[in-house]
């Protein structure tokens, strides 16, 4: 493959259905990049800051990036506020900006204008990605926790959709500028997160199809919460015999049963992972199910360790 592995791309977008652990994967990826010595910015879109539950600090909303770990900063993009910033930059006349922000007409148009909110969000991300101090970029890597799949695709594809609506003006110009970067597989990579579960896998496959059809660079998929198992199919006959043996003590039967359940779960998860890899054709990284993710539990660090060595993320050696 000609495209560089995800870890080598400056801008990563993490996408997935609600509940699959998108925020966790974003945090693990960002932390892995920071640990590797890259000055990394984790960006959350929307008002909820879920990643703050994974780190000990609480980032400030819409303000300056807050440091959460050495080399790792986090920032939450508030759409309304970004629209105001965008207006201020475009219109340059302060009273006019204030008039606009207060005007219901503006808010109605902002809601109806296809993709204005997404474009402004993406514009903000683009500004951060291109921010330089002296000659060096302020951020080596940016990792974006996208809204849930549908809205996430809308965010990434906004430049294309704006293009469908003919016309001119600063919005269109900015869309074209951003589109070049977002669609560039050397600079940008999209990661689609799934869980070993039918709905999550089929939605991930659909998302990958949609992203591809719009020429958006899907770098990898992540199968999150894969149950680890200490058993192989060779263990099955003996375990099944003991689990069904009425003469055995309850705890022995339960132990054999728990082992069988663990084996079945891992076989199931492996089948879902195969379905994701086979159906999408993108490299799939797997992350283990970790019982605890709260700060200090070491759960997030386990995921980081698993993620950064996965060939799907770091590239084939």
């Amino acid at each position: 493959m000609a495209s560089p592995p995800l870890l080598a791309r400056r801008l990563a977008f993490v996408l997935g259905k609600g509940g699959v652990g998108k925020t966790t994967v974003t945090a693990a990826l960002a932390l892995g990049l920071a640990d590797a010595g890259h000055r990394t910015l984790l960006i959350e879109v929307g008002s909820e800051q879920r990643s703050s539950a994974l780190f000990t600090t609480t980032p400030s909303l819409g303000g300056e990036p807050a440091q959460v770990r050495p080399g790792l900063f986090s920032l939450s993009i508030d759409v309304e506020r970004s629209i105001e910033e965008y207006l201020a930059a475009q219109l340059k006349v302060r009273p006019l900006v204030e008039l606009m922000v207060r005007s219901r007409a503006f808010h109605a148009v902002a809601q109806a204008a296809p993709g204005l909110a997404e474009l402004v969000t993406l514009g903000k991300i683009w500004d951060l990605a291109t921010l330089v101090r002296g000659d060096t970029p302020v951020w080596d890597r940016l990792v974006v926790d996208c809204p849930a799949t549908g809205h996430g695709i809308a965010l990434l594809d906004v430049a294309g959709r704006i293009g469908e609506l003919s016309g001119s003006g600063p919005i269109r110009d900015q869309a074209q500028k951003i589109e070049q970067v977002i669609h560039h597989p050397a600079a940008t990579g999209i990661v689609v997160v799934a869980q070993p579960e039918e709905l999550a896998v089929s939605e991930a496959l659909e998302a990958i199809d949609t992203l591809r059809s719009r020429d958006l660079p899907v770098a990898a998929a992540v199968m999150n919460s894969v149950a680890p198992s200490a058993f192989t199919s060779g263990d099955e006959p003996a375990l099944a015999a003991v689990a069904a043996d009425a003469s055995a003590d309850a705890a022995s039967r339960a132990a054999a049963g728990a082992a069988l359940a663990s084996l079945r779960r891992s076989e199931h998860d492996a089948a879902e992972t195969m379905a994701l890899a086979g159906g999408s054709g993108v490299p799939v990284a797997t992350l283990p199910l970790v019982p605890q993710l709260s700060p200090g539990s070491g759960g997030l660090e386990l995921l980081v360790a698993a993620l950064v060595v996965d060939p799907a993320i770091r590239g084939a050696a």
């Binding site: 609600g18 509940g19 204008a113 296809p114 959709r161 003006g169 919005i171 263990d235 663990s262």
Partner: protein, 380 residues
């Protein structure tokens, strides 16, 4: 085990069952299983899914789940031990088709309808206006109830980052369509001139020209046309939103909140439950899905597992026994953690009606698995 709630029985006779909760907790499965249970008790039931649930559709014997209801073949579920006394139809929400029908119903005339349906802004709308999908979900629900063809309609709700979005969507959507301030400002351009635009004209034109600089004249023109074309439909939309709200707060409706035994969805479920209670939506039950069963043997350790595994022909019985014992310890810890999670969820809610569904070895997407979830929901 405590007394088990028969949720299907408790919901029998209701015309609407709304299944809500965070993403990833199994709402679709619970919706389908509840619908199956209600149909088994004689009701004519429709279940509306939001996600493309292909294997669920396949399990129900429906090749192409779409906007039109498909009848589930009773023979399919009969094999899984459930007799469909009533009937079960399944469909998947198509927001676009629903929105098109809504426009067709409320457009003042054919020309207005065609103008809206052809407008590019309208065609982008379902993806851009916050809450459009949620709004269309309740609209579809209302259509089905209104058709008189069903005794009960079970609605799976859209996956939302925040499950509360679902409740706010209809109002946000009506507010958007209303766009009254905008129409006043646009007045001089689009001919709604009677509304005293003169007073607003100075401020309005400045805003309009700033908007034009931002979007370009063409895009602004289309947006203007779009908003203008909704002019004559606002009353229809707002009446409909009021009817939907009346239905959802009536005694004909029950909300079922689904969660998993994990902190994040449980926090959302608790917030949703409180919100529903505060706003007067009738609550059915809290369903905790995928709860790990307590393995057998209490706290006892296996007595002679290695010997039994030897007898059963295991290659490395001592090693396998050790690994199986670890698996047992982990399974017990998981079951205990789940019980704690459930206790800390329901305690602060004052002990709501509760159903727990055990974690199955496989996704309940085969019809037998679905029937099993139905039986859990019946407390049998």
């Amino acid at each position: 085990m405590t007394d088990r709630l028969d949720l299907v029985g408790a919901l029998s006779g209701r015309r609407v069952v709304v299944v809500a909760g965070a993403g990833g907790v199994g709402k679709t499965t619970v919706s389908a299983a509840l619908a199956l249970g209600l149909a088994a008790r004689g009701a004519r039931v429709a279940v509306v899914t939001i996600d493309p649930a292909r294997r669920l559709a396949a399990a129900l014997g429906i090749a192409d789940l779409g906007d039109t209801p498909h009848r589930v073949d009773p023979a399919r579920v009969h094999d899984a031990g459930i007799a469909l006394v009533g009937s079960l139809d399944a469909l998947q929400l198509d927001p676009r088709a629903t929105f098109d029908r809504l426009v067709a119903r409320h457009a003042p005339d054919d020309a207005a309808r065609e103008r809206i349906l052809a407008n590019r802004i309208y065609r982008h709308l379902s993806g851009t206006v916050a809450g459009a999908q949620e709004f269309m979900a309740v609209e579809r629900l209302y259509e089905l109830v209104d058709s008189g063809e069903y005794d009960a309609v079970v609605l799976d709700t859209p996956p939302a980052r925040n499950a509360l979005d679902f409740l706010d969507a209809p109002e946000r959507m009506t507010r958007f369509i209303e766009g009254r301030g905008l129409r006043l400002l646009l007045g001089p351009r689009v001919g709604v001139g009677r509304l005293g635009w003169r007073a607003l004209h100075a401020g309005g034109s400045m805003v309009m020209s700033a908007l034009e600089r931002l979007t370009g004249a063409e895009l602004l023109g289309e947006i203007t046309e779009f908003l203008q074309s909704f002019d004559g439909m606002y009353q229809g939309f707002s009446d409909r939103a009021a009817s939907v709200h009346a239905l959802l707060t009536s005694n004909s409706t029950r909300f079922v909140v689904v969660t998993g035994p994990r902190p994040e969805p449980s926090a959302e479920a608790a917030a949703l439950w409180r919100r529903l209670e505060t706003d007067g939506y009738p609550l059915g039950a809290l369903v905790v899905n995928r709860v790990h069963d307590q393995p057998g043997g209490g706290e006892a350790q296996p007595l002679d597992l290695a010997r039994r595994l030897t007898q059963a022909g295991a290659g490395d019985p001592a090693g396998l026994a050790a690994r199986a014992t670890t698996a047992l310890d982990e399974a017990r810890a998981r079951a205990l953690a789940d019980r704690h999670e459930i206790a800390s969820l329901i305690g602060p809610l004052g002990g709501p009606p509760l159903v727990t569904i055990p974690a199955l070895d496989d996704d309940p997407v085969e019809v037998a698995g679905l029937a099993r979830v139905t039986r859990e929901l019946q407390g049998t």
